[in-house]
């Protein structure tokens, strides 16, 4: 009969290394599987103005994204649209949810009159929950 080698071993302990292995494995798993969701409604060729005073707001799916590019073209939820269509759309939104958050993305060189026009349309439709999106090094 073989002699039990562990018989005299006094301190039986769990080794830490497999535990750490497991933790690393889990960590790698989450790193690999996590996907950063891209905002599909973003307009790609927009060069947001830089601002130091901007606040970080948590991303919100329900926010309505209106973008104006450098040529004055208007985008609603990432899709090109016209001012006439936007006015119609805002009428619908006013009826459905007047408190809806609205995000205005503008280019650095968007004509200012265009911004005023859109802001005025929003205010005329009584949509007051409007924010302007800017670029801040800390957050982006």
């Amino acid at each position: 009969m073989p002699r039990n080698v562990y018989e005299d071993d006094e301190d039986v302990a769990l080794s830490m290394s497999p535990l750490i292995d497991c933790v690393f494995l889990l960590l790698i798993f989450f790193l690999v599987t996590t996907m950063l969701k891209k905002d599909l409604r973003d307009v790609e060729h927009l060069n947001l103005p830089i601002s130091r005073s901007s606040l970080e707001v948590p991303p919100d799916e329900s926010v309505l994204a209106i973008a104006i590019d450098a040529e004055g073209g208007i985008y609603l939820e990432g899709e090109e649209t016209t001012i006439g269509q936007l006015l119609e759309e805002l009428k619908v939104i006013e009826q459905d949810d007047p408190e809806r958050r609205i995000r205005l993305d503008t280019d650095e060189s968007t004509p200012f009159y265009r911004l005023v026009e859109v802001l005025d349309a929003l205010s005329f439709r009584n949509l007051r929950n409007v924010g302007v999106r800017t670029y801040h090094e800390k957050f982006d």
């Binding site: 039990n4 562990y6 018989e7 039986v12 690999v32 996907m35 899709e79 016209t82 001012i83 006439g84 269509q85 006015l87 119609e88 009428k91 009826q95 009159y113 005023v116 026009e117 005025d120 005329f124 009584n126």
Partner: protein
């Protein structure tokens, strides 16, 4: 001895077996399933970095769905979108039907000549009748005795007119050729000469008649003068017609008449059911699909059907506007169709091919198909919306509340009433000849018009909760309005505030001026006295995205491209962005009211202006006058929700601007 748990081999064996089973299972699965074999967690790709070194890096990809899954997903997607498209198709179908019903009713309201020739024939018939009447009067016993000598000649003239009318009406039944037109024109000239020579003789005879017959003779003379003038005018039109190219057009078959009759009968029998068409013809003879037929269509066909219906809406809209124009100016439908502005709605991209093959095998194909689906629903949404806009522009109704359950008779009565209201409003709107500061009360007429429209109460579908039957009459205070108002220009200039929303509870009650406008122009100002009679596209339909051809540019020698431009000022007076001489501009804006509000509007302009509120003419000031803030006041009624305001501004020489001020009448009284 009991096995020491630490030395026992049992757990090891179990673990080995378990892992063997797992690995074996996985291996079998790999052998059996191809998709699993292809499954990638990550890819190693080789890229060149900035320093030109080749670097390997792990690229992690989302698992690629297999072919079956992709197809399943895209089929589901399609099913969902098809339901949306079907909804839109049904909406559009309803709109097509409603618009065409209104157009049909409009046409029946007043018998309009289809072609120019029809109109001329109608005139000839009228002439014959007038000639006959005149002869009867002449031959009456109490006619002056000395005029009896004129009788034979008058009779021969009557015969001639009758022959002429017959000739023209005969030609009407077949295509009018150039020869026919020449012949007719010759006959008309002959007629005119006869009439003129008779007139001079008759004038002489009446002047020589004895005093006791003088009155009767003068009456007869005037009657004939009128007739002669009509004949002269008719000849002029005939000559014009001969020169024009109308006669080269082949006459349309009189088929339309027949469908009218059957439709009329259908209308009477079915009444309500007609508004929910069951796959039959529309009043204008377009084929629409039934619900079942729509169910059977595939996505591509559905989309094409929607495009087709959008086209029908455009056609019906143009036809309706042409009818309006023809009625207003007494021209033939044919000519009105030529003259009327026909706006075309955006039909969306052609997606027939992309939509018809839903069998994607790769990711790219799937994405393309998805994109096409998305575009299709978006375009359908747009088309349905612009169709609804056209409907409301044509009928003055807004939103989805249509004229459900109305027979064509009701519709006609309604249209007739509406025309009457509009005619009355046109009269009240005139500012020429009325003193500065005059006040016209239009509340009653506008209230009548709004309640006629029914659905129009809820401006733009706003405040759906309000009872549609709300009576505007009760809103109106009975106190009489002052007949004249003076406005202290300086004070008003200082105190008026900009705005477009009228809030009853607001503390700031007083004059507000509309500060935000969409302005378009310039068009060439018509060189005629009644320049407002020449209409430009915004009067037909307001489409802020449209572009038009405007006035000829003096420098570039080509027509200017016109777009709506956003104008907002701090100033009461609004300038078009680039004013030039001899031009027509339009301004469009909306005013929001929480409830039906009585408002007094002060319109002032340099030079001429015409104001529409909710498609009703409210103010019309012709003449090249300067700007006076209190040129004229109109007390009107605004409906709850959004109210459309359109102004037409005409510039003679030098500067031009306009101002529109509003004040709740209640505040004006206090």
């Amino acid at each position: 001895m009991a096995a020491n748990p630490l030395t026992s081999h049992k757990p090891l064996v179990i673990a080995l077996v378990l892992s063997l089973i797992l690995v074996g299972g996985f291996a079998t699965a790999l052998i059996l399933d191809e998709d699993l074999r292809r499954y990638t967690i990550a890819q190693i790709e080789e890229i060149t970095n900035e320093e030109g070194e080749k670097v390997k890096r792990v690229k992690i990809e989302k698992p690629e769905p297999n072919e079956k899954q992709v197809r399943e997903i895209s089929r589901n997607q399609e099913r969902k979108k098809r339901e949306e498209l079907k909804e839109k198709a049904k909406e559009l179908r309803e709109t097509v039907f409603e618009i065409e019903e209104v157009v049909e009713a409009q046409k029946k309201l007043k018998e309009l000549p289809e072609t120019e020739w029809d109109r001329i024939a109608q005139q000839a018939q009228d002439l014959a009748e007038a000639a006959k009447e005149f002869n009867e009067h002449l031959q009456a016993i109490d006619a002056p005795a000395n005029l009896e000598t004129a009788e034979p000649e008058a009779e021969s003239l009557e015969e001639l007119v009758e022959e002429y009318a017959e000739l023209i009406n005969e030609m009407k039944d077949s295509a009018v050729t150039e020869e026919d037109a020449k012949k007719a024109s010759l006959a008309a000239r002959n007629l005119r000469n006869k009439a003129n020579s008779f007139q001079s003789k008759f004038d002489l005879a009446t002047s020589q008649s004895p005093t006791e017959d003088k009155a009767a003779a003068t009456e007869l003379r005037d009657e004939f003068r009128e007739l002669a003038q009509q004949i002269n005018e008719h000849y002029k039109e005939m000559a014009e017609f001969e020169k024009s190219d109308h006669m080269l057009q082949i006459m349309p078959e009189p088929e339309t008449e027949e469908t009218d009759l059957t439709e009329l009968q259908l209308d009477d029998q079915l009444g309500v059911e007609l508004t929910a068409p069951i796959g039959e013809e529309t009043p204008l003879g377009n084929e629409l699909l039934t619900d079942d037929q729509l169910e059977e269509l595939n996505t591509a066909e559905l989309y094409q059907e929607i495009q087709k219906m959008s086209e029908m809406v455009d056609e019906a809209f143009a036809e309706g506007k042409a009818t309006e124009l023809a009625q207003e100016k007494g021209m033939s439908l044919e000519q009105a169709r030529d003259e009327v502005y026909k706006p075309e709605s955006d039909k969306g991209p052609d997606l027939g091919n992309a939509l018809s093959q839903n069998n994607p095998s790769t990711r790219e194909e799937f994405q393309q198909f998805n994109e096409a689906l998305k575009d299709a629903t978006k375009a359908a949404e747009q088309m349905s919306r612009s169709a609804a806009n056209r409907k409301s522009a044509l009928t003055g109704e807004s939103g989805k509340q249509g004229n459900q359950g109305q027979s064509s008779g009701d519709l006609q009565a309604q249209l007739a009433q509406k025309n009457e209201i509009q005619a009355k409003m046109n009269l009240l709107a005139q500012n020429a000849g009325r003193g500065q500061g005059n006040v016209q009360d239009m509340r009653g007429l506008m209230a009548e018009n709004y309640s006629l429209n029914g659905g129009g109460l809820n401006g733009g579908g706003q405040h759906e909760g309000q009872a549609a039957s709300m009576s505007y009459q009760t809103d109106m205070s009975q106190n009489a309005l002052p007949s004249k108002v003076r406005l202290d220009a300086k004070r008003t200039l200082a105190q008026a505030i900009p705005g477009r929303r009228l809030d009853m509870n607001s503390k700031r009650q007083g004059w507000i001026f509309l500060d935000t406008w969409y302005v378009i122009g310039p068009w060439q100002r018509p060189k005629r006295k009644d320049s407002f009679a020449v209409k430009f596209p915004p009067e037909t339909l307001i489409d802020l995205d449209a572009t038009y051809e405007g006035k000829m540019s003096r420098y570039r020698k080509e027509r200017m491209e016109l777009k709506w431009r956003f104008v907002q000022t701090e100033n009461i007076r609004i300038n078009p962005p680039d004013e030039i001489n001899d031009a027509v501009y339009y301004g469009y804006t909306e005013v929001f009211c929480e409830a039906a509000t009585e408002v007094t509007v002060a319109v002032a302009s340099d030079d001429m202006a015409k104001l529409w509120i909710n498609d009703l003419v409210v103010y019309e000031d012709s003449g090249l006058s300067g700007w006076q803030m209190d040129e004229g006041f109109r007390t009107i009624l605004l409906k709850p929700g959004y109210n459309k305001v359109l102004i037409r501004l005409e510039n003679g020489p030098v500067v031009c601007f306009f101002s529109v001020l509003m004040c709740p009448t209640e505040a004006l009284r206090n």
